[in-house]
Amino acid sequence: MAENASAPPILIRGVSEPRLEVHKFRPGAVVGASFLALVLQAFVPTHVWKGDLVGDLIELPLLVTLYFGLSRRNPSRGLLLGMVIGMAQDGLSGANPIGLFGIAKTLVGYLASTIGARLDVEHPVSRMVLAFTFFHLQNLVCVFTRRWLLAQAAPFMSVRLLVASLVAALVAWPLFALLDKLRQDED
Protein backbone atom coordinates (compact mmCIF):
# COMPACT_ATOMS: atom_id res chain seq x y z
CA MET A 1 0.00 0.00 0.00
CA ALA A 2 3.01 2.29 0.24
CA GLU A 3 3.05 4.93 -2.40
CA ASN A 4 5.99 5.92 -4.58
CA ALA A 5 7.10 9.21 -3.02
CA SER A 6 9.23 10.32 -5.97
CA ALA A 7 6.47 10.02 -8.55
CA PRO A 8 5.10 13.35 -9.83
CA PRO A 9 1.38 14.11 -9.70
CA ILE A 10 -0.45 12.55 -12.62
CA LEU A 11 -2.97 14.42 -14.68
CA ILE A 12 -5.75 12.21 -15.85
CA ARG A 13 -8.46 12.44 -18.48
CA GLY A 14 -8.46 14.56 -21.57
CA VAL A 15 -8.31 18.26 -21.99
CA SER A 16 -12.07 18.62 -21.86
CA GLU A 17 -12.18 17.34 -18.27
CA PRO A 18 -10.97 19.06 -15.08
CA ARG A 19 -7.33 18.48 -14.38
CA LEU A 20 -7.61 16.56 -11.09
CA GLU A 21 -4.58 15.64 -9.09
CA VAL A 22 -3.87 12.14 -7.83
CA HIS A 23 -2.57 12.45 -4.30
CA LYS A 24 0.25 10.42 -2.90
CA PHE A 25 0.68 9.55 0.74
CA ARG A 26 3.54 8.90 3.06
CA PRO A 27 4.81 5.33 3.22
CA GLY A 28 2.63 3.29 5.55
CA ALA A 29 0.04 6.03 5.75
CA VAL A 30 -2.73 4.05 4.08
CA VAL A 31 -1.98 0.87 6.00
CA GLY A 32 -1.58 2.67 9.29
CA ALA A 33 -4.73 4.70 8.93
CA SER A 34 -6.73 1.68 7.87
CA PHE A 35 -5.37 -0.42 10.73
CA LEU A 36 -6.09 2.32 13.25
CA ALA A 37 -9.63 2.72 11.98
CA LEU A 38 -10.24 -1.00 12.28
CA VAL A 39 -8.81 -1.16 15.79
CA LEU A 40 -10.87 1.76 16.95
CA GLN A 41 -13.95 0.32 15.32
CA ALA A 42 -13.50 -3.11 16.88
CA PHE A 43 -11.87 -2.68 20.26
CA VAL A 44 -12.71 0.72 21.59
CA PRO A 45 -16.43 0.02 22.03
CA THR A 46 -15.56 -3.21 23.85
CA HIS A 47 -12.58 -2.36 25.96
CA VAL A 48 -12.33 1.39 26.24
CA TRP A 49 -15.68 3.01 25.69
CA LYS A 50 -18.49 0.74 26.74
CA GLY A 51 -21.17 1.65 24.29
CA ASP A 52 -22.05 1.55 20.66
CA LEU A 53 -21.23 5.12 19.71
CA VAL A 54 -18.13 4.26 17.75
CA GLY A 55 -19.24 0.76 16.81
CA ASP A 56 -22.50 1.75 15.25
CA LEU A 57 -22.66 5.44 14.71
CA ILE A 58 -19.19 6.25 13.54
CA GLU A 59 -18.16 4.04 10.62
CA LEU A 60 -14.45 4.77 10.68
CA PRO A 61 -13.43 2.00 8.20
CA LEU A 62 -15.99 3.32 5.74
CA LEU A 63 -14.67 6.84 6.07
CA VAL A 64 -11.08 5.70 5.63
CA THR A 65 -11.99 3.66 2.55
CA LEU A 66 -13.90 6.58 1.17
CA TYR A 67 -11.12 9.05 1.81
CA PHE A 68 -8.35 7.04 0.20
CA GLY A 69 -10.61 6.11 -2.72
CA LEU A 70 -11.45 9.73 -3.38
CA SER A 71 -7.86 10.87 -2.96
CA ARG A 72 -5.96 8.25 -4.90
CA ARG A 73 -8.53 8.07 -7.71
CA ASN A 74 -7.48 4.61 -8.78
CA PRO A 75 -10.45 2.23 -9.04
CA SER A 76 -8.36 -0.92 -8.80
CA ARG A 77 -6.56 0.19 -5.71
CA GLY A 78 -9.73 1.64 -4.28
CA LEU A 79 -11.71 -1.57 -4.57
CA LEU A 80 -8.84 -3.67 -3.26
CA LEU A 81 -8.43 -1.40 -0.24
CA GLY A 82 -12.18 -1.51 0.35
CA MET A 83 -12.18 -5.29 0.10
CA VAL A 84 -9.32 -5.69 2.56
CA ILE A 85 -10.76 -3.23 5.07
CA GLY A 86 -14.24 -4.70 4.76
CA MET A 87 -13.11 -8.31 5.17
CA ALA A 88 -10.94 -7.31 8.12
CA GLN A 89 -13.90 -5.53 9.66
CA ASP A 90 -16.01 -8.65 9.17
CA GLY A 91 -13.31 -10.80 10.74
CA LEU A 92 -12.95 -8.55 13.73
CA SER A 93 -16.65 -8.17 14.29
CA GLY A 94 -17.14 -11.86 14.96
CA ALA A 95 -20.81 -11.66 14.21
CA ASN A 96 -20.72 -11.03 10.48
CA PRO A 97 -19.74 -13.61 7.89
CA ILE A 98 -16.55 -12.58 6.14
CA GLY A 99 -17.55 -10.80 2.99
CA LEU A 100 -20.59 -8.89 4.17
CA PHE A 101 -18.82 -5.57 4.69
CA GLY A 102 -16.16 -6.73 2.27
CA ILE A 103 -18.58 -6.62 -0.65
CA ALA A 104 -20.02 -3.29 0.46
CA LYS A 105 -16.64 -1.63 0.94
CA THR A 106 -15.31 -3.09 -2.31
CA LEU A 107 -18.09 -1.26 -4.11
CA VAL A 108 -17.56 1.85 -1.99
CA GLY A 109 -13.82 1.87 -2.77
CA TYR A 110 -14.45 1.36 -6.46
CA LEU A 111 -17.15 4.02 -6.74
CA ALA A 112 -15.23 6.52 -4.58
CA SER A 113 -12.14 6.14 -6.78
CA THR A 114 -14.27 6.54 -9.89
CA ILE A 115 -16.01 9.62 -8.54
CA GLY A 116 -12.77 11.03 -7.22
CA ALA A 117 -11.33 10.87 -10.70
CA ARG A 118 -14.17 12.99 -12.08
CA LEU A 119 -15.11 15.45 -9.33
CA ASP A 120 -13.34 17.81 -7.04
CA VAL A 121 -13.72 16.24 -3.62
CA GLU A 122 -11.52 18.58 -1.66
CA HIS A 123 -14.26 20.85 -0.44
CA PRO A 124 -15.48 20.02 3.08
CA VAL A 125 -19.15 20.18 2.15
CA SER A 126 -18.76 17.81 -0.79
CA ARG A 127 -16.83 15.46 1.49
CA MET A 128 -19.67 15.50 4.04
CA VAL A 129 -22.25 14.89 1.36
CA LEU A 130 -20.19 12.02 -0.03
CA ALA A 131 -19.75 10.51 3.45
CA PHE A 132 -23.50 10.70 4.03
CA THR A 133 -24.24 9.21 0.61
CA PHE A 134 -21.71 6.40 0.81
CA PHE A 135 -22.87 5.50 4.29
CA HIS A 136 -26.29 4.76 2.87
CA LEU A 137 -24.84 3.08 -0.19
CA GLN A 138 -22.88 0.75 2.07
CA ASN A 139 -25.99 0.08 4.10
CA LEU A 140 -27.97 -0.58 0.96
CA VAL A 141 -25.44 -3.13 -0.27
CA CYS A 142 -25.33 -4.79 3.16
CA VAL A 143 -29.10 -5.01 3.31
CA PHE A 144 -29.27 -6.52 -0.15
CA THR A 145 -26.54 -8.97 0.75
CA ARG A 146 -28.27 -9.95 3.96
CA ARG A 147 -31.67 -10.29 2.37
CA TRP A 148 -30.81 -11.95 -0.92
CA LEU A 149 -27.72 -13.94 -0.13
CA LEU A 150 -28.03 -14.72 3.55
CA ALA A 151 -31.83 -14.74 3.88
CA GLN A 152 -31.60 -12.44 6.92
CA ALA A 153 -33.93 -9.61 7.84
CA ALA A 154 -32.44 -6.10 7.62
CA PRO A 155 -34.08 -2.66 7.38
CA PHE A 156 -33.32 -0.39 4.45
CA MET A 157 -33.82 2.71 6.56
CA SER A 158 -34.31 3.63 10.21
CA VAL A 159 -33.86 6.65 12.46
CA ARG A 160 -30.73 5.16 13.89
CA LEU A 161 -29.30 4.68 10.39
CA LEU A 162 -30.18 8.25 9.53
CA VAL A 163 -28.50 9.55 12.69
CA ALA A 164 -25.48 7.36 12.00
CA SER A 165 -25.17 8.67 8.47
CA LEU A 166 -25.35 12.26 9.74
CA VAL A 167 -22.73 11.49 12.39
CA ALA A 168 -20.52 9.91 9.71
CA ALA A 169 -20.89 13.04 7.60
CA LEU A 170 -19.97 15.25 10.53
CA VAL A 171 -17.02 13.12 11.51
CA ALA A 172 -15.83 12.99 7.89
CA TRP A 173 -15.04 16.72 7.96
CA PRO A 174 -12.33 16.72 10.64
CA LEU A 175 -11.23 13.16 9.83
CA PHE A 176 -10.58 13.88 6.18
CA ALA A 177 -8.76 17.08 7.14
CA LEU A 178 -6.61 15.07 9.50
CA LEU A 179 -5.89 12.46 6.84
CA ASP A 180 -4.96 15.24 4.43
CA LYS A 181 -1.92 15.76 6.63
CA LEU A 182 -0.66 12.36 5.54
CA ARG A 183 -0.38 13.44 1.91
CA GLN A 184 3.11 13.44 0.60
CA ASP A 185 2.56 15.95 -2.15
CA GLU A 186 1.68 18.64 0.38
CA ASP A 187 5.05 18.49 2.04
Binding site: P75, M83, M87, I98, L100, G102, I103, T145, L149, L150
Partner: protein, 310 residues
Protein backbone atom coordinates in the same frame (compact mmCIF):
# COMPACT_ATOMS: atom_id res chain seq x y z
CA UNK B 1 -5.52 -6.60 -26.88
CA UNK B 2 -3.24 -5.82 -23.98
CA UNK B 3 -4.49 -2.26 -23.97
CA UNK B 4 -8.08 -3.38 -23.77
CA UNK B 5 -7.24 -5.72 -20.93
CA UNK B 6 -5.50 -2.93 -19.07
CA UNK B 7 -8.38 -0.54 -19.61
CA UNK B 8 -10.88 -3.06 -18.38
CA UNK B 9 -8.76 -4.18 -15.48
CA UNK B 10 -10.80 -2.36 -12.80
CA UNK B 11 -14.00 -4.02 -14.01
CA UNK B 12 -12.42 -7.44 -14.05
CA UNK B 13 -10.91 -6.87 -10.66
CA UNK B 14 -14.22 -5.65 -9.29
CA UNK B 15 -16.06 -8.65 -10.65
CA UNK B 16 -13.46 -11.08 -9.34
CA UNK B 17 -13.46 -9.44 -5.90
CA UNK B 18 -17.21 -9.51 -5.63
CA UNK B 19 -17.52 -13.10 -6.83
CA UNK B 20 -14.75 -14.17 -4.49
CA UNK B 21 -16.44 -12.57 -1.49
CA UNK B 22 -19.86 -13.85 -2.44
CA UNK B 23 -18.45 -17.38 -2.61
CA UNK B 24 -16.66 -16.79 0.68
CA UNK B 25 -19.97 -15.78 2.22
CA UNK B 26 -21.65 -18.83 0.77
CA UNK B 27 -19.01 -21.12 2.23
CA UNK B 28 -19.43 -19.66 5.72
CA UNK B 29 -23.13 -19.19 5.99
CA UNK B 30 -25.45 -22.03 6.84
CA UNK B 31 -29.13 -22.12 6.14
CA UNK B 32 -31.57 -22.77 9.02
CA UNK B 33 -31.68 -26.40 7.95
CA UNK B 34 -27.90 -26.67 8.46
CA UNK B 35 -26.89 -26.78 4.82
CA UNK B 36 -24.10 -24.51 3.73
CA UNK B 37 -25.16 -21.73 1.42
CA UNK B 38 -22.55 -22.73 -1.15
CA UNK B 39 -24.04 -26.22 -1.24
CA UNK B 40 -27.54 -24.81 -1.63
CA UNK B 41 -26.37 -22.57 -4.46
CA UNK B 42 -24.50 -25.38 -6.11
CA UNK B 43 -27.55 -27.58 -5.92
CA UNK B 44 -29.83 -24.84 -7.19
CA UNK B 45 -27.39 -24.05 -9.97
CA UNK B 46 -26.86 -27.62 -11.03
CA UNK B 47 -30.30 -29.03 -10.36
CA UNK B 48 -31.97 -27.49 -13.46
CA UNK B 49 -29.19 -28.84 -15.66
CA UNK B 50 -29.40 -32.23 -13.97
CA UNK B 51 -33.15 -32.14 -14.23
CA UNK B 52 -32.96 -31.27 -17.90
CA UNK B 53 -30.43 -34.04 -18.43
CA UNK B 54 -32.56 -36.49 -16.50
CA UNK B 55 -35.61 -35.42 -18.48
CA UNK B 56 -33.73 -35.86 -21.73
CA UNK B 57 -32.46 -39.27 -20.65
CA UNK B 58 -35.95 -40.26 -19.55
CA UNK B 59 -37.29 -39.16 -22.91
CA UNK B 60 -34.65 -41.15 -24.74
CA UNK B 61 -35.13 -44.18 -22.51
CA UNK B 62 -38.91 -43.82 -22.62
CA UNK B 63 -38.87 -43.45 -26.38
CA UNK B 64 -36.57 -46.42 -26.79
CA UNK B 65 -38.42 -48.65 -24.35
CA UNK B 66 -41.72 -47.43 -25.83
CA UNK B 67 -40.49 -48.34 -29.29
CA UNK B 68 -39.28 -51.73 -28.10
CA UNK B 69 -42.50 -52.29 -26.14
CA UNK B 70 -44.52 -51.24 -29.15
CA UNK B 71 -42.57 -53.59 -31.36
CA UNK B 72 -43.04 -56.41 -28.87
CA UNK B 73 -46.67 -55.50 -28.39
CA UNK B 74 -47.17 -55.55 -32.12
CA UNK B 75 -45.63 -58.99 -32.40
CA UNK B 76 -47.60 -60.21 -29.42
CA UNK B 77 -50.71 -58.66 -30.91
CA UNK B 78 -50.10 -60.54 -34.13
CA UNK B 79 -49.49 -63.76 -32.25
CA UNK B 80 -52.61 -63.23 -30.15
CA UNK B 81 -54.67 -62.46 -33.24
CA UNK B 82 -53.54 -65.70 -34.79
CA UNK B 83 -54.28 -67.47 -31.53
CA UNK B 84 -57.72 -65.88 -31.34
CA UNK B 85 -58.40 -66.97 -34.91
CA UNK B 86 -57.33 -70.51 -34.13
CA UNK B 87 -59.32 -70.60 -30.91
CA UNK B 88 -62.37 -69.14 -32.62
CA UNK B 89 -62.21 -71.83 -35.27
CA UNK B 90 -61.65 -74.45 -32.61
CA UNK B 91 -64.50 -73.08 -30.57
CA UNK B 92 -66.78 -73.13 -33.58
CA UNK B 93 -65.77 -76.71 -34.29
CA UNK B 94 -66.39 -77.67 -30.67
CA UNK B 95 -69.71 -75.87 -30.61
CA UNK B 96 -70.66 -77.63 -33.81
CA UNK B 97 -69.59 -80.95 -32.34
CA UNK B 98 -71.47 -80.23 -29.15
CA UNK B 99 -74.57 -79.36 -31.13
CA UNK B 100 -74.11 -82.47 -33.21
CA UNK B 101 -73.66 -84.57 -30.11
CA UNK B 102 -76.78 -83.02 -28.66
CA UNK B 103 -78.75 -83.76 -31.79
CA UNK B 104 -77.41 -87.25 -32.05
CA UNK B 105 -78.09 -87.75 -28.38
CA UNK B 106 -81.67 -86.70 -28.91
CA UNK B 107 -81.88 -88.95 -31.95
CA UNK B 108 -80.45 -91.88 -30.04
CA UNK B 109 -82.75 -91.24 -27.15
CA UNK B 110 -85.68 -91.14 -29.52
CA UNK B 111 -84.45 -94.29 -31.20
CA UNK B 112 -84.06 -96.10 -27.89
CA UNK B 113 -87.48 -94.98 -26.79
CA UNK B 114 -88.90 -96.53 -29.95
CA UNK B 115 -86.83 -99.65 -30.16
CA UNK B 116 -89.60 -101.54 -31.87
CA UNK B 117 -90.02 -98.99 -34.66
CA UNK B 118 -88.41 -99.85 -38.03
CA UNK B 119 -86.23 -96.77 -38.28
CA UNK B 120 -83.01 -96.06 -40.16
CA UNK B 121 -80.88 -93.10 -39.19
CA UNK B 122 -79.46 -90.99 -41.98
CA UNK B 123 -77.35 -87.86 -42.29
CA UNK B 124 -78.38 -84.94 -44.44
CA UNK B 125 -75.62 -84.43 -46.98
CA UNK B 126 -77.06 -81.72 -49.18
CA UNK B 127 -79.96 -79.57 -50.23
CA UNK B 128 -81.76 -79.14 -53.45
CA UNK B 129 -80.06 -76.74 -55.81
CA UNK B 130 -83.38 -75.87 -57.45
CA UNK B 131 -86.39 -74.03 -56.19
CA UNK B 132 -87.96 -77.20 -54.83
CA UNK B 133 -87.82 -78.09 -51.21
CA UNK B 134 -85.82 -81.29 -51.07
CA UNK B 135 -82.72 -82.62 -49.33
CA UNK B 136 -80.28 -85.45 -49.92
CA UNK B 137 -79.42 -88.07 -47.33
CA UNK B 138 -76.61 -90.60 -47.14
CA UNK B 139 -78.82 -93.67 -47.28
CA UNK B 140 -79.84 -95.36 -50.48
CA UNK B 141 -80.98 -98.50 -52.11
CA UNK B 142 -78.31 -100.67 -50.58
CA UNK B 143 -79.53 -99.64 -47.14
CA UNK B 144 -83.03 -100.79 -47.98
CA UNK B 145 -84.42 -97.36 -48.71
CA UNK B 146 -87.27 -97.25 -51.18
CA UNK B 147 -89.33 -94.45 -52.72
CA UNK B 148 -92.27 -93.10 -50.71
CA UNK B 149 -90.81 -94.12 -47.39
CA UNK B 150 -91.51 -91.59 -44.69
CA UNK B 151 -88.75 -89.43 -43.18
CA UNK B 152 -89.02 -88.01 -39.67
CA UNK B 153 -87.02 -86.46 -36.84
CA UNK B 154 -87.64 -86.78 -33.12
CA UNK B 155 -89.67 -83.56 -33.46
CA UNK B 156 -92.00 -84.73 -36.19
CA UNK B 157 -92.56 -85.56 -39.85
CA UNK B 158 -90.03 -84.28 -42.40
CA UNK B 159 -91.20 -85.61 -45.75
CA UNK B 160 -90.93 -88.68 -47.94
CA UNK B 161 -88.31 -90.39 -50.04
CA UNK B 162 -88.65 -89.15 -53.61
CA UNK B 163 -85.75 -90.68 -55.46
CA UNK B 164 -83.47 -93.51 -54.36
CA UNK B 165 -79.94 -94.05 -55.57
CA UNK B 166 -77.41 -96.64 -54.55
CA UNK B 167 -75.97 -94.76 -51.58
CA UNK B 168 -78.11 -91.64 -51.37
CA UNK B 169 -81.71 -90.62 -51.54
CA UNK B 170 -83.68 -87.48 -52.25
CA UNK B 171 -86.22 -86.47 -49.66
CA UNK B 172 -89.16 -84.25 -50.61
CA UNK B 173 -89.93 -82.01 -47.68
CA UNK B 174 -93.45 -81.50 -46.40
CA UNK B 175 -93.35 -77.85 -47.32
CA UNK B 176 -92.82 -78.54 -51.03
CA UNK B 177 -95.87 -77.76 -53.15
CA UNK B 178 -95.95 -81.32 -54.45
CA UNK B 179 -95.74 -82.85 -50.99
CA UNK B 180 -98.53 -83.82 -48.63
CA UNK B 181 -99.60 -86.09 -45.80
CA UNK B 182 -102.81 -87.30 -44.24
CA UNK B 183 -103.53 -85.16 -41.18
CA UNK B 184 -105.58 -85.52 -38.03
CA UNK B 185 -106.43 -82.68 -35.65
CA UNK B 186 -105.62 -83.72 -32.11
CA UNK B 187 -108.66 -82.20 -30.34
CA UNK B 188 -111.45 -82.31 -32.90
CA UNK B 189 -110.15 -85.56 -34.46
CA UNK B 190 -111.15 -84.07 -37.79
CA UNK B 191 -109.16 -85.40 -40.71
CA UNK B 192 -107.70 -83.49 -43.62
CA UNK B 193 -104.75 -83.31 -45.92
CA UNK B 194 -101.63 -81.31 -45.12
CA UNK B 195 -99.84 -80.06 -48.20
CA UNK B 196 -96.85 -77.88 -48.81
CA UNK B 197 -97.33 -74.31 -49.80
CA UNK B 198 -93.82 -73.60 -50.97
CA UNK B 199 -93.30 -71.48 -47.87
CA UNK B 200 -92.43 -72.38 -44.31
CA UNK B 201 -96.03 -73.30 -43.38
CA UNK B 202 -98.34 -76.14 -44.40
CA UNK B 203 -101.89 -75.78 -45.64
CA UNK B 204 -104.41 -78.11 -43.99
CA UNK B 205 -107.20 -78.81 -46.46
CA UNK B 206 -110.54 -80.54 -46.38
CA UNK B 207 -111.53 -79.54 -42.87
CA UNK B 208 -115.13 -78.50 -42.70
CA UNK B 209 -116.07 -74.99 -41.66
CA UNK B 210 -118.21 -76.55 -38.95
CA UNK B 211 -115.19 -77.89 -37.16
CA UNK B 212 -113.90 -75.78 -34.34
CA UNK B 213 -110.19 -75.47 -34.86
CA UNK B 214 -108.11 -73.14 -32.71
CA UNK B 215 -104.60 -71.88 -33.11
CA UNK B 216 -102.19 -73.99 -31.11
CA UNK B 217 -104.02 -77.22 -31.75
CA UNK B 218 -101.64 -80.06 -32.62
CA UNK B 219 -101.85 -81.93 -35.89
CA UNK B 220 -100.80 -85.58 -36.31
CA UNK B 221 -100.57 -87.94 -39.24
CA UNK B 222 -103.77 -89.79 -39.94
CA UNK B 223 -102.17 -92.82 -41.65
CA UNK B 224 -104.49 -92.42 -44.60
CA UNK B 225 -101.69 -91.54 -47.03
CA UNK B 226 -100.10 -94.98 -46.91
CA UNK B 227 -96.76 -93.40 -46.19
CA UNK B 228 -96.75 -92.40 -42.54
CA UNK B 229 -98.18 -94.45 -39.73
CA UNK B 230 -100.87 -92.82 -37.63
CA UNK B 231 -100.24 -90.29 -34.85
CA UNK B 232 -96.84 -88.94 -35.86
CA UNK B 233 -96.51 -85.21 -35.00
CA UNK B 234 -97.10 -83.17 -38.12
CA UNK B 235 -97.31 -79.67 -36.76
CA UNK B 236 -99.29 -77.03 -34.89
CA UNK B 237 -102.14 -74.85 -36.11
CA UNK B 238 -101.02 -71.22 -36.27
CA UNK B 239 -103.94 -69.62 -38.09
CA UNK B 240 -107.45 -70.66 -39.09
CA UNK B 241 -110.23 -68.87 -40.92
CA UNK B 242 -113.41 -69.85 -42.70
CA UNK B 243 -113.08 -70.68 -46.37
CA UNK B 244 -115.13 -71.94 -49.28
CA UNK B 245 -115.85 -74.78 -49.25
CA UNK B 246 -113.38 -75.71 -46.46
CA UNK B 247 -111.62 -73.99 -43.62
CA UNK B 248 -108.27 -72.43 -44.41
CA UNK B 249 -105.83 -73.64 -41.79
CA UNK B 250 -102.10 -72.78 -41.58
CA UNK B 251 -99.90 -75.31 -39.82
CA UNK B 252 -96.33 -74.87 -38.68
CA UNK B 253 -94.36 -78.10 -39.20
CA UNK B 254 -93.30 -79.85 -36.00
CA UNK B 255 -89.86 -80.66 -37.41
CA UNK B 256 -87.40 -77.84 -38.01
CA UNK B 257 -87.17 -78.31 -41.73
CA UNK B 258 -84.67 -75.52 -42.15
CA UNK B 259 -82.24 -77.06 -39.64
CA UNK B 260 -82.15 -80.67 -40.68
CA UNK B 261 -78.89 -82.51 -40.18
CA UNK B 262 -79.90 -85.99 -39.13
CA UNK B 263 -83.18 -87.73 -39.92
CA UNK B 264 -84.83 -91.10 -39.44
CA UNK B 265 -86.28 -93.13 -42.32
CA UNK B 266 -89.41 -95.17 -41.70
CA UNK B 267 -88.57 -98.48 -43.26
CA UNK B 268 -92.15 -99.71 -43.05
CA UNK B 269 -95.60 -98.44 -42.28
CA UNK B 270 -95.82 -100.64 -39.25
CA UNK B 271 -97.79 -98.86 -36.57
CA UNK B 272 -95.85 -97.79 -33.46
CA UNK B 273 -96.35 -95.37 -30.61
CA UNK B 274 -94.72 -92.00 -31.06
CA UNK B 275 -94.96 -91.07 -27.41
CA UNK B 276 -93.08 -93.57 -25.20
CA UNK B 277 -95.25 -95.04 -22.49
CA UNK B 278 -93.57 -94.94 -19.06
CA UNK B 279 -96.06 -97.48 -17.72
CA UNK B 280 -94.76 -99.94 -20.24
CA UNK B 281 -91.18 -99.57 -19.09
CA UNK B 282 -89.53 -102.97 -18.68
CA UNK B 283 -88.19 -102.13 -15.24
CA UNK B 284 -91.29 -100.62 -13.68
CA UNK B 285 -94.42 -101.98 -15.22
CA UNK B 286 -95.52 -105.51 -14.48
CA UNK B 287 -95.91 -107.45 -17.68
CA UNK B 288 -93.92 -104.84 -19.53
CA UNK B 289 -93.65 -105.31 -23.24
CA UNK B 290 -90.21 -105.96 -24.68
CA UNK B 291 -89.27 -104.62 -28.10
CA UNK B 292 -91.25 -106.34 -30.76
CA UNK B 293 -89.91 -109.67 -31.77
CA UNK B 294 -88.61 -109.71 -35.28
CA UNK B 295 -87.34 -106.13 -35.03
CA UNK B 296 -83.60 -106.11 -35.35
CA UNK B 297 -81.68 -103.40 -33.64
CA UNK B 298 -78.15 -102.67 -34.52
CA UNK B 299 -75.90 -100.51 -32.33
CA UNK B 300 -75.43 -96.98 -33.53
CA UNK B 301 -72.39 -96.67 -35.76
CA UNK B 302 -69.91 -93.84 -35.49
CA UNK B 303 -71.82 -90.62 -35.80
CA UNK B 304 -74.67 -91.80 -33.70
CA UNK B 305 -76.58 -93.51 -36.44
CA UNK B 306 -78.90 -96.33 -35.54
CA UNK B 307 -79.96 -98.76 -38.19
CA UNK B 308 -83.09 -100.77 -37.67
CA UNK B 309 -84.59 -103.07 -40.20
CA UNK B 310 -87.80 -104.95 -40.01
Amino acid sequence: MFEIATRRRPYVLLAVSLVFQILLLAVQVRRPDGARLIRVWAVELLTPAERAGSWAMDMVRGGWSGYISLFRANRENQRLREQVGELTMRNSALESRAAEAERLGALLQFREAHADAPLLAARVIGGDAGAGRAIYIDRGERDGVQPNMGVITPQGVVGKILEVYSGTSQVLLLTDKNSGAGALLADSRAQGAARGSGGPLLQLDYVSNDQEVAAGERVFTSGMDKIFPKDLPLGTVVETRPGNPFKQIQVRPAARLDQLEEVLILLSRKQWDWEPKPAESAETAPGARTPAAGTAKTPAPAGGEAKVKP
